[in-house]
């Protein structure tokens, strides 16, 4: 049952930050799809709930030069309606994640920033933001600061947000059109479910093996989303032959040690499935795949 709390509806960012910094047991509310569940389950004690939806200037989603700026009030549905997410192959990873996110009702409520702010290791937008190397714009009582998303995540449910700080926006660099990206996950049912594990892929200069850079991040395999730099190196700068793919898959599986208590997937299954998702993702992004032919053709 939902425990009673006081509800605040500030109009400006500073007002919101001030409330957040001073009120006892305060929590910001965007879509409320994580917060209200936690309050109901008794997992979060919130005596003061500060609604961000009326705060001026928090914005939804817009393009700013070669960045996509995802404001604190941008819902999953808003993101799915953003032109860039469909036109830019490097942002397809955001679309893929949105499509499998919750259900229609949840997508209308839930925000992308709330998803990241919640810092859940398996949440849909963790690993995509890691491969996109997004920046988090934080607004607090002491002003504004910008940090890389990788520094934002501190552990399961823990983030770099200080007292009163608000995740004002996510700034996502838009990769050149030669990039490709994808998001894949395993869940127990096809309908609404939380991911057992997920994998985001961004391939820069996708069609030129020699220049190609592969970035990948996984969710729900550690306390935060994680990149796999060695595997990225293995897959970058040369054609991805079956041998290299198998090597990469092996390294990816070996490199993770998920906790054994998850109800959604066992460590054994996660280890096997990250490898599978990697192959399925590359298969989706590269043509032909694997690239034996290219390997033969190169000097």
């Amino acid at each position: 049952m939902l425990r009673p709390f006081d509800y605040h509806r500030p109009r400006t960012l500073d007002e919101a930050c001030a409330l957040g910094a001073t009120l006892a047991d305060a929590a910001y509310l965007a879509g409320g799809t994580d917060l209200l569940v936690k309050i109901r389950d008794g997992k979060q004690r919130a005596r003061n709930v500060i609604d961000l939806k009326r705060v001026a200037g928090l914005g939804r989603v817009r393009r700013d030069g070669d960045h996509l700026v995802i404001g604190a009030l941008c819902t999953i549905t808003d993101l799915l309606h953003a032109e860039e997410v469909h036109a830019e192959p490097g942002l397809a990873v955001l679309r893929d994640a949105g499509v499998v996110f919750g259900c229609e009702e949840i997508r209308h409520r839930a925000t992308v920033c709330g998803n990241v702010a919640h810092a859940s290791p398996g949440a849909e937008y963790g690993s995509p933001m890691f491969v996109l190397e997004a920046d988090c714009v934080l607004h607090g009582p002491a002003g504004e600061r910008t940090i890389p998303v990788a520094d934002f995540y501190r552990g399961p449910g823990r983030s770099a947000l200080g007292p009163g700080e608000i995740l004002k926006a996510l700034r996502v660099p838009i990769a050149p059109r030669s990039a490709r990206s994808a998001y894949l996950r395993r869940s127990r049912v096809r309908g609404m479910d939380l991911a057992g594990l997920n994998l985001a892929l961004l391939v820069l200069d996708a069609t030129e093996p020699a220049r190609r850079r592969v970035r990948l991040a996984m969710g729900a395999v550690a306390g935060t989303p994680i990149r796999a730099p060695e595997v990225e190196a293995l897959l970058s700068g040369a054609p991805i032959t079956r041998d290299r793919l198998e090597q990469a898959k092996g390294a990816l599986s070996a490199g993770i040690s998920p906790r054994p208590t998850s109800l959604r997937a066992s460590p054994e299954y996660k280890k096997a499935m990250v490898a599978h998702l990697l192959e399925a993702g590359l298969e989706r992004l590269l043509e032909p795949f694997p690239e034996e032919v290219m390997a033969e053709a190169s000097p």
Binding site: R3, P4, R188, V189, L263
Partner: protein, 802 residues
């Protein structure tokens, strides 16, 4: 009677009310001065309650009563009275209520709960059936010998066995010794949760005059009345239970669960309504669970594939209290071989107390539990003798030959055309017919190279009889109105299955009036409604049909008597057809129904006869099991059928995709074919949950780890919309029955799990002996097999592998 409305798909009578939100459920009810109850539950599977400190909670604002088990000194239970409304001295499962607060608001009640302190002394717990059976196992009920037990049930004091059903025919030892081939295997069907859309709830009030009034979200208002009346020692007429629409039951609301406790709490606050509504997470521990069966199957066969002996041992982990789990055992037992003839057999089904939440009725009531095992075993046996699974089943079929089932009942072709069902299903899924040319899908060009998948097919037969008390009466009242319309009043609960629509159709045809002239009032009130035992066991349409026929016989007699007076002729000369009473041989002398059914008024104003109000009842002939053989009239109606699946297994992830699911069931007569088909598909989807994704996940201390919709995975529309569902309703007439319908409701869920598991085995060569076949489990099994055989044969029928 001419069937005009029966057999047509008239729209549901409750559709408008439900889609407009007008329909009200128990949680919608509110009364002035109503109080709210909240429960504190034991975190331990088994513990002595050392001390409960409740004074602080009692002093909190808005709190009317704080109760512990000791304050509610009554006994409840349907077959074995083994439970208190709340734990007294010992908590027997994690989640058992140990204290309750009744307060002016839910918030106040919750706040007070937090102020209650309970000291426990944990005791050794038994968490599964085998542990419960082991010699020296901790006893869940050391006082079992002192409990009140209904006839027909056999608890064994000094053990955890609360009932042992067995049935014997021939000599199984000799039969097995003679068999050329013996196939033995263990199986398991773990615990499941119903997850009805509507959670459990109850409102109760103890009136100043000493009556108990109850609003229950119950499948069986009369059973609730009887359980609470007996618990409190109240005469039946001092208890009234009202039931309305249910947001799904699936068996989970057929037992009295939250009702006795709510009533007990209401006794502490006389004059006030006390409301207890469980939330989703509580429903997992605060109502009943389903299934929880293990079984060991040992069959003897001839080399040519004839079954000669069956030795079956079933164990149910029944939870801490027996409820009607007791009754599941005979159903699981005598149905445990499926619709096949075996001359020498012995089947044992034992129910064990365990320190887990109680098990109760769950769509299928024992039948899917043991038939999962039986139908998996049939495939194993077919393989052992090198026979095709369809041919093997047809060879051993019970029906056609008129042979005897385990109960000793002769089953012949009038019981249904099972062979026809099997053939239809086999054809649908491409078994036994030519394997090529089945799948246009295979020819479809795929844009991306397809992941490695394996396709397989499997089928399983089903049979089901209603599992009910020997005196499980149903009653109906026909109340004729001034204009010739009719109220058909019955206490069966409309929980989404469409029974009120079927009742209206049957009444319309029997009375020979248009269905628009029939009204089936929604809701039951034990003060006014005619008795019905329970809306369970797929029985309501079948039983009500016969009761309506009996009632109509009486009504007709009364109408003819009144008309005879009006016509001035002997009764024998009056006949009735299609809403008209007439003098036989002189049909110009006729009166419409409405001129007679509320008495006849002569031209001078004087009246004869009266408003017609009649009751009809029905109960089939049933007996207890014979003490020596376990045989007897335990099954009073049979429905047979077959289900089959074509599945695709993704070898890279283990994911099982159902491509096609076919069901063929001999229903006798489909009263409303569209509703019947919807019922079958709904049941199949329900069954797919248990077969593929649903299971209660236990923690090491007997706690349910996935007691929420987040982690108890029920299939969603996304999971089933791609499935090609086929439903065949066969209609072999039921001899001597006015309506001709057989039981149909749970049946669509009975053979789903074995059909899927048989299909997965066909696709991958990996045998599963339990469910669910979740992607992860399938994948790990495939891997384990690959590790065993260093150079495995490629899976049968693999395609697209690179």
């Amino acid at each position: 009677m001419e069937q005009r409305c029966i057999g047509t798909s008239v729209p549901r009578v409750d559709a408008l009310e439900k889609v407009t939100g007008e329909a009200r459920y128990v949680a919608d009810l509110s009364f002035p001065g109503m109080l709210h109850a909240k429960l504190l539950r034991s975190p331990h599977a088994h513990a002595r309650i050392v001390r409960i400190e409740k004074a602080a909670a009692a002093a909190m604002p808005g709190v009317h009563a704080v109760a512990t088990g000791k304050d509610l000194p009554w006994w409840v239970g349907e077959c074995i009275r083994d439970q208190r409304p709340m734990a007294v001295e010992t908590a027997r499962f994690a989640g058992e209520p140990v204290a309750a607060v009744v307060a002016s608001s839910e918030d106040a009640a919750l706040a007070a709960l937090e102020a209650i302190r309970v000291d426990y002394e944990p005791l050794p717990a038994v968490l599964d059936a085998r542990a419960a059976l082991a010699p020296g196992a901790p006893l869940v009920h050391p006082d079992l010998g002192t409990y009140h037990v209904l006839p027909g049930f056999r608890p064994s004091p000094g053990t955890n066995v609360f009932h042992h059903y067995f049935v014997k025919a021939g000599d199984v030892t000799k039969g097995l010794a003679r068999a050329a081939v013996v196939v033995e295997q263990e199986y398991e069907f773990p615990h499941l949760m119903h997850t009805a859309l509507e959670n459990h709830g109850c409102l109760a009030r103890y009136t100043a005059g000493g009556r108990l009034e109850v609003h229950a979200g119950a499948q069986s208002p009369f059973t609730v009345r009887n359980v609470v009346a007996e618990a409190f020692g109240l005469p039946r007429h001092r208890v009234s239970v009202r039931g309305g629409y249910l947001g799904g039951g699936f068996g989970g609301k057929s037992d009295a669960t939250v009702e006795p406790l709510t009533c007990a709490l209401a006794r502490l606050c006389p004059g006030r309504w006390v409301r207890l509504i469980l939330d989703r997470e509580e429903s997992f521990v605060g109502s009943v669970l389903g299934r929880g069966f293990r079984g060991r199957y040992r069959y003897g066969l001839t080399r040519r594939g004839r079954l000669v002996a069956a030795d079956i041992d079933l164990l149910m982990a029944g939870g801490a209290y027996s409820w009607t789990a007791v009754n599941i055992l005979p159903c699981a037992g005598h149905n445990g071989i499926g619709p096949y003839f075996v001359p020498d057999l012995e089947i044992h089904a034992r129910g064990l107390y365990t320190n887990t939440p109680p098990v109760g009725a769950y769509r299928g009531y024992g039948h899917p539990d043991s038939q999962f095992m039986a139908e998996r075993h049939m495939d194993l046996c077919a393989r052992a003798v090198g026979m095709d699974p369809v041919a093997f089943r047809l060879k051993n079929l019970l029906g056609k030959s008129g042979k005897k089932n385990p109960l000793g009942q002769r089953v012949d072709s009038s019981a249904g055309d099972l062979e026809g069902c099997i053939k239809l299903v086999a054809q649908d899924i491409g078994m036994a017919t030519s394997p090529e040319g089945i799948r246009a899908r295979e020819a479809e060009p795929s844009a991306v190279s397809r992941p490695a998948v394996a396709v397989g097919r499997g089928l399983a037969c089903l049979m089901k009889s209603p599992g009910q008390a020997t005196n499980a009466f149903t009653t109906v009242v026909l109340k004729f109105n001034e204009d010739g319309t009719v109220h058909v009043i019955s206490a069966v609960s409309e929980m989404g299955q469409g029974v009120h629509t079927a009742i209206a159709q049957i009444a319309a045809d029997l009375i020979e009036i248009p269905v628009e002239k029939v009204y089936v009032p929604q809701g039951t009130d034990t003060d006014y409604s005619p008795y019905d035992w329970q809306t369970v066991a797929s029985r309501a349409t079948w039983m009500q049909g016969r009761a309506i026929a009996a009632a109509w016989e009486k009504a007709r007699k009364e109408l003819r008597a009144t008309a005879a007076k009006a016509f001035g002729v002997p009764v024998a000369k009056v006949d009735y057809r299609r809403g008209t009473l007439f003098v036989r041989g002189d049909e110009s002398r006729a009166l419409p129904l409405e001129k007679v059914c509320h008495g006849y008024v002569f031209p001078d104003g004087h009246a004869v006869g009266g408003p017609v109000l009649v009751a009809g009842h029905y109960v089939p002939h049933a007996t207890y099991a014979d003490e020596q053989t376990g045989r007897g009239e335990l099954a009073t109606s049979w429905t047979f059928g077959c289900q089959g699946a074509e599945v695709e297994v993704d070898l890279r992830t283990g994911e099982v995709t159902v491509l096609r699911f076919s069901s063929a069931i001999d229903v006798g007569r489909a009263v409303n074919p569209e509703l019947a088909k919807a019922q079958v598909i709904g049941a199949v989807v329900f069954g797919l949950g248990g077969a593929l994704t649903e299971t209660v996940t236990w923690g090491p201390r007997g706690e349910i780890r996935n007691a929420s919709m987040t982690d108890y995975k029920v299939p969603t529309p996304e999971d089933v919309r791609g499935i090609d569902f086929r439903v065949h309703l066969l209609e072999t007439p039921v001899p001597g029955d006015p309506v001709g319908s057989r039981c149909l409701a749970e049946h669509g869920a009975v053979a789903v799990a074995p059909a899927i598991a048989n299909a997965v085995a066909d696709a991958t060569g990996v045998d599963f002996f339990d469910v669910p076949l979740a992607a992860e489990r399938v994948f790990l099994a495939l891997q384990a097999r690959a590790a065993q055989a260093p150079s495995p044969k490629p899976p049968r029928k693999a395609k697209g592998a690179r």
